[in-house]
């Protein structure tokens, strides 16, 4: 439970942020310069807001009205910085245990389990200068986890890494987000990471928070195009792995009635998965098509159409209670006579769903403490 409602000023920028999150992973999403780092620094206690309040799981960290302003040391906010900030003169092990020997936070989390979770076993005796970027971030995450935090802030932990390193570290983040057992505030300007990891999405734009809510709802909203970035717009579908066809290399995912076939998916029957489908990879047809190479076609109902000026229209479709987003030309909307409430067939190119946009679902039942 994270509850933030603050006004602050950093340099020339006014920051006005208000959001609530029920726990799990909350993503703070915004373009560079939107004020993400300033906001996290205020939550961590490195900067002081002018007004407002911040609380985590019922503990007030800051309340201007009541004159409460816990120091950085007392906030117990684990902070994973974009640049890792490992202590270069200390071994990985001494870095990991820093909060215990220097911060006097004995903590309840078992060191071995954290080492295991993040795959740090054979790095313990190394010096930070000899680690790769991805290894450094994993150590930084472990160090923050072992500081007995009530909230874990991860400030763009992948921003300084190349794509290969990101792919190395993302599976660790998947596990961490499910198993950490504490609320996580994940800062990012990558909609892919946000869609993959988070439960709640908070949009930050020019120092304000215009919207926040469950991640699937937020991604389906067409009015946030400017903040989420037009090119990356898409919807989330959650489902379960129903069947695996090894002959064709396809996995059937049941999204509650309809079945999607996904190639090359590392999953087992029964796994809960989250699929992100970009709006530009979805096409609409009035009737189920024949003689088409696209495998994923199913019934849906148009719930809204928003056309701006320009060639494209954003269409939200309801599929078995979930929302899918499509971007087609305004001309097509007119030609096909599409209107809200009309039943259509949505077509999704199988290849549009790649590995990086799938993740384990973060249902409350899946959460186990470390």
């Amino acid at each position: 439970m994270l509850d933030v409602d603050i006004t602050g000023r950093v340099g020339a920028m006014e920051l006005q942020a208000a959001f609530k999150s029920s726990g799990g992973v909350t993503s703070l999403f915004g373009q560079s310069g939107a004020g993400k780092t300033s906001l996290t620094n205020m939550i961590a206690g490195l900067l002081t807001p002018l007004r407002g309040r911040i609380s985590v799981n019922g503990t007030t960290l800051f309340d201007a009205g009541k004159g409460i302003n816990l120091s950085v040391q007392k906030r117990r906010v684990g902070h994973v910085f974009q640049d890792a900030r490992l202590f270069p003169h200390l071994s990985v092990k001494a870095n990991l245990t820093y909060a215990r020997w220097a911060g006097r936070r004995p903590g309840t989390r078992d060191m071995d389990e954290v080492v295991d979770l993040l795959g740090l076993g054979n790095l313990l005796e190394r010096m930070p200068g000899t680690l790769s970027g991805g290894e450094k971030q994993r150590v930084a995450i472990g160090r923050a986890l072992l500081s007995d935090p009530r909230l874990l802030i991860m400030d763009e932990p992948l921003a300084n890494l190349d794509q290969a390193r990101r792919n190395d570290i993302l599976p660790y983040l998947d596990r961490l987000c499910v198993e950490a057992g504490i609320p996580i505030l994940y800062v990012s300007h990558s909609i892919e990471e946000v869609a993959r990891l988070s439960n709640t999405l908070v949009i930050l734009s020019e120092g304000t928070t215009p919207a926040f809510g469950p991640v699937a709802d937020m991604l389906a909203r067409t009015d946030l195009g400017k903040a989420t970035g037009r090119h990356e717009a898409g919807g989330l579908l959650e489902g379960k792995v129903a069947r695996i066809n090894p002959d064709w290399g396809l996995t059937d995912v049941d999204i509650g009635g309809a079945v999607l076939q996904i190639p090359d998916m590392a999953a087992e029957v029964g796994d809960a998965v989250r699929l992100r489908i970009r709006a530009r990879d979805v096409a609409l047809a009035l009737y189920p098509p024949e003689g088409l190479s696209i495998r994923n076609a199913f019934e849906a109902t148009i719930s809204s159409i928003s056309s701006e000026t320009g060639p494209y229209a954003e269409i939200l479709c309801s599929v078995q209670g979930q929302t899918l987003r499509a971007r087609i030309t305004r001309a097509s909307v007119a030609d096909l006579d599409l209107y809200p409430g009309r039943n259509v067939t949505v077509l999704i190119k199988s290849v549009a769903i790649d590995r990086r946009q799938r993740t384990q679902m973060h249902g409350e039942g899946a959460k186990v403490p470390l």
Partner: protein, 235 residues
């Protein structure tokens, strides 16, 4: 063989010099570290004045510094009288005065490299330490100071060297008393002022050279070891 062994007067001067320089270093170094840290990391009212005061002995003629010390800490000086009356302690014309003069003269040479090395330590590391629960002082002793250690060591070596060779302020403040304030530099000066002192001056010069050389080599080895420990791509 007798030529190569130290004569009593020489040994006395050498031991006195080491005692004076070591005392100056031990007392002045922690103060230098503190002042260097404040100058590097904080901006307070009078920052510029403190900075100028620290560097004053570097630009003043040493005789002036010695004379100011005499006026302040001498028998008739305000601080000198106070110390004499309250603690029964006096800097005047004994080796502690020589150590004070050496410490004051060496101070700016210590502060400078230490300050520079503090400035190269990323203050964000201290933020990280605090977010892990460390208090400011703990963060200083576990992160900032160890990372600045090569610079602290450099400052210490420079300060020790300066303290060993200090001449002008020492002779002005506490005079040239054998066994009390006559360090190597002062003994050498005395020898050059004696008509038949050429051999004595030469021997003292040789001693100074050997001591200086040994100190330089030892410090170089130490700095190398430190750099290696700080490790990897960082150094």
């Amino acid at each position: 063989m007798e030529f190569f062994s130290l004569q009593p007067g020489e040994l006395q001067a050498l031991l006195l010099t080491l005692k004076v320089a070591a005392t100056a270093l031990i007392v002045a170094l922690p103060i230098a570290v503190l002042v260097a840290y404040l100058l590097a990391r904080t901006r307070f009212a009078g920052h510029g004045i403190v900075n100028a005061l620290v560097h004053l002995p570097l630009v003043l003629p040493p005789v002036v510094t010695g004379y100011v010390l005499l006026l302040t800490f001498g028998r008739k000086g305000a601080v000198g009288t106070f110390l004499e009356n309250t603690l029964g302690f006096s800097f005047a014309f004994n080796w502690t005065g020589a150590a004070l003069a050496a410490g004051v003269m060496a101070f700016p040479l210590m502060v400078r490299p230490i300050r520079i090395s503090f400035e190269t330590v990323d203050p964000k590391l201290e933020e990280a330490a605090k977010s892990l629960g460390a208090h400011r002082l703990t963060a200083f002793f576990t992160i900032t100071l160890p990372l600045a250690l090569p610079g602290v060591l450099g400052g210490a070596i420079l300060g020790f060297a300066k303290a060993m060779g200090e001449f002008g302020a020492t002779i002005t403040f506490v005079s040239n008393i054998p066994g009390e304030t006559r360090t190597l530099a002062l003994a050498l000066y005395t020898a050059t002022q004696t008509p038949s002192g050429d051999l004595a001056a030469f021997r003292l010069t040789a001693i100074a050279l050997v001591v200086a050389f040994a100190a330089l080599i030892a410090s170089e080895l130490l700095v190398r070891r430190l750099r290696k420990r700080v490790g990897g791509g960082h150094a």
